[in-house]
């Protein structure tokens, strides 16, 4: 066995606690993070919180499930949020609200530039080819801008709970590292030395380095061509007033993530890759002293007839199969009244055996995680038979969060 069971993650207590201001859903791609974030947002709203869900996933169906034709860079109200009836009493809890938005990273980047540079300079930056690539396809820009948006929403203070769904990164850790990397890059000495060596030429130690940098620019010219370097140079001189600012902003959101009131939920499916990523993430959050609330194990196989083992189920299916073929061989197929019942039962038993095997594999894989992280609370969300189409579907997922 896998040792003692993990503590139960109480998502309801987390969202009912008014001190919880930010919930970050993270995990590798394809584990259902966005849906979980939306389900948490809806449930919190129906528990009376004023919630905004920030997603980076352009899933149209999800937008539709919240009654929105599409999501954009501005929080839009979601209709159909119900107030939850008080457990004991007659009156419903004071109603909450739900807004949803999708990150537009280029727009968000543009807004930072517009806010920090005078109009002429801003226009110059926005038109720069290098800036355009940087703001739309640079690895890490999306993560940086997601964090930037989170900071903006927090400062706006219009919502008492922000639920963020992190970008579908190569690795879940990118979400923590990429903003810093972009900030370091934009504010970095290398970028400035490369593009404006004259400015720093006066200092002796830099003079010594200059020879080295001559080689560096030489190689970069070989790789990139002179035009790119020229674009970068123009970009950097236009951006001059903003230097330092990127680092500061990244630091601000990083601190926000550490502050009391922030809770991380690591989302994973019961699969090797997803749980490996989840493990890395849990360990990293611990190192960074960031507040981990727990693991949401999504899409866990439920087996209603769990008391019938896979082996017995398959054996029984074989018995029936033998009976069927026996009768067919004797030419009794037409007269065998039980044949349809047997066929149906074989299908049911084979499916059941398959699900039992899968459930066992999932338990084994999840057991690897819980054995390594016995103190991390876990909440399981049953696999849904169908895709989520509407608020009702999100609500059903939310019901798995019910306390106790």
């Amino acid at each position: 066995m896998t040792g003692r069971p993990s503590p139960q993650l109480d998502v309801d207590r987390l969202i009912d606690d008014r001190r919880t201001r930010i919930i970050v859903c993270c995990g590798s791609g394809g584990v259902g993070k966005t849906t979980i974030a939306a389900a948490i947002g809806l449930r919190a709203a129906e528990h009376g919180r004023h919630v905004v869900v920030l997603t980076v996933d352009p899933a149209r169906r999800l937008a539709q499930s919240m009654g929105l034709t599409s999501l954009d860079n501005t929080p839009r109200p979601v209709r159909g949020v119900k107030a939850r009836a008080r457990q004991a009493g007659n009156d419903a809890e004071p109603g909450g609200s739900l807004h949803a938005m999708m990150l537009d990273m280029k727009r968000t980047f543009d807004e930072i530039v517009e806010a920090h540079a005078d109009p002429d300079r801003a226009a110059q930056i926005l038109a720069n080819p290098f800036y355009q690539s940087l703001s739309s396809s640079f690895a890490g820009t999306q993560e940086y801008m997601a964090m930037e948006k989170l900071g903006q929403l927090r400062r706006a203070d219009e919502w008492d709970l922000i639920v963020v769904d992190t970008p579908p990164s190569r690795s879940a850790l990118d979400f923590l590292d990429a903003p810093q990397r972009l900030a370091r890059f934009l504010d970095g000495k290398l970028l400035r030395l490369l593009t404006a060596p004259a400015k720093v030429g006066g200092r002796a130690y830099l003079r010594a380095l200059n020879a080295g940098f001559g080689m560096v620019t030489g190689v970069l010219t070989k790789i990139l061509g002179t035009q790119v370097l020229k674009d970068v140079q123009t970009f950097v001189s236009a951006l001059d007033t903003m230097f330092g600012g990127f680092r500061e902003r990244a630091d601000y959101t990083y601190q926000l993530l550490r502050a009391p009131g922030t809770a991380f939920l690591v989302v994973a499916a019961p699969e090797e890759d997803a749980l490996r990523e989840a493990s890395y993430f849990v360990e990293r959050l611990d190192t960074e002293r960031m507040p981990l609330a727990g693991l949401i194990l999504n899409r866990v196989q439920q087996v209603p007839a769990a008391h019938l083992s896979a082996a017995r189920s398959l054996a029984a299916a074989e018995v029936l199969q033998a009976a069927l073929s026996g009768n067919t061989a004797k030419g009794h197929a037409g007269g065998d009244d039980d044949a349809p019942a047997r066929q149906l039962t074989i299908a049911a038993l084979q499916l059941h055996a398959d699900r039992m095997t899968q459930a066992a594999a999932e338990r084994r894989i999840a057991g690897g995680f819980t054995a390594a992280h016995p103190l991390v609370p876990v909440a399981e969300i049953p696999a849904q038979a169908e895709d989520v189409h509407d608020l009702e579907g999100l609500r059903r997922i939310g019901e798995s969060f019910a306390s106790g």
Binding site: G30, S137, L344, I365, E386
Partner: protein, 336 residues
């Protein structure tokens, strides 16, 4: 070498993409094995630094070097061929590029230590991609004196569907930045390979709303790029249910004849006292609803008019045996 009639005769570069969670790496691995049957030599390449291939084939982490990791399934006529693996990262590819074109061996590694390589591959967004696709193109074109092309096929475990168009359309991306530089010339050579009939892009999907939508969007996107060929749609993790259509409908509606199930269980010698028939009926109902939803998604996929293969769900999880099973399934469907 025996030539079988497959759907992709003449294709040498198989780019495999898919939404996260669809099993893209697993399918790329199975395809590489399938292609390596009949004594062929195949290179399986990954470009996202996740060491997914090493985990899949249960070998230690792989370096930036071509290593033999598996043998393709043999047939009566031929022993299985070799599958090599390569983990390509942009930094190493750049150093290699500088060595090849400028003889900058030492400068390259010195600059790497200074972080300049990282800087260069970050500063020009398309550069990263052109270096990675460039490595694949080089492997496709590489020749071995005696045997012609070094590899009969190259399989690339590519970035996810959402990024695949931009990843492959590097020529356009890079030319935005480098209007003249040597990278531009390199990118053009790479594009000749990517846009030739020797290259196709396969989409791995599940029969669920979002992966199917991304697959259709991805195929549509490639078609607008001109010359980049969508290949097969590979539906992963399919689980057929042995029920005739009428019963499937009834099961999905929760109207299955439980009495019948009870009779069947009794004749199999199973005790129904714990409500077994009811619980099994519930399992059938859930699965039937899933399957009906999947059929809807399959119809949407069919509108893409690309060849479609189906791979079975392996309930015990994917290990080497499971991988070979998927490889056979691909061969049987003439994917390789």
């Amino acid at each position: 070498m025996a030539t079988r009639d497959t759907d992709w005769d003449g294709v040498r570069l198989h780019v495999v993409t898919g939404k996260g969670g669809t099993g893209k790496t697993t399918v790329a691995g199975a395809l590489a094995l399938a292609l390596a049957a009949d004594g062929r030599r195949v290179l399986l390449m990954e470009v996202e630094g996740r060491q997914g291939i090493a985990q899949l084939f249960d070998v230690p982490p792989l370096p930036y070097a071509e290593r033999r990791i598996a043998v393709g399934p043999g047939t009566d006529a031929h022993p299985g061929g070799d599958v090599f693996a390569l983990v390509a990262d942009p930094e190493s590819a750049l150093i290699e590029y500088l060595q090849m074109f400028y003889g900058l061996r030492h400068a390259g590694s010195a600059l790497a230590k200074l972080g300049v390589m990282d800087f260069a591959t970050t500063i020009a967004p398309g550069l990263r991609d052109v270096l990675l696709t460039g490595k694949a193109a080089e492997a496709v074109r590489r020749k071995d004196g005696s045997r012609g092309r070094t590899y009969d096929a190259v399989v690339m475990d590519a970035p996810p569907t959402g990024r695949i168009g931009r990843f492959l359309n590097v020529s356009a991306e890079v030319s935005d930045l480098a209007r003249v530089g040597p990278i531009r010339g390199h990118a053009d050579t790479v594009q000749q390979v990517i846009r030739s009939p020797e290259t196709v892009v396969h989409f791995v999907t599940l029969l669920e709303e979002m992966p199917v939508q991304e697959t259709l969007d991805g195929i549509a996107e490639l078609r607008t790029l001109g010359g980049i060929r969508p290949g097969a749609v590979i539906v992963n993790m399919t689980r057929p249910l042995a029920l005739p259509p009428r019963q499937l409908q009834a099961a999905a509606a929760g109207k299955l004849d439980q009495a019948r199930l009870a009779i069947g269980l009794k004749s199999a010698g199973l005790d129904d006292s714990h409500g077994l028939a009811g619980a099994l009926a519930a399992e059938l109902a859930e699965q039937a609803r899933t399957i009906l939803g999947q059929e809807e998604q399959q119809q949407r996929l069919d509108t893409s008019d690309q060849p479609c293969y189906r791979l079975p769900w392996v309930s015990s999880g994917i290990d080497l045996a499971g991988l070979y099973r998927l490889a056979w399934a691909l061969r049987e469907q003439k994917a390789a």
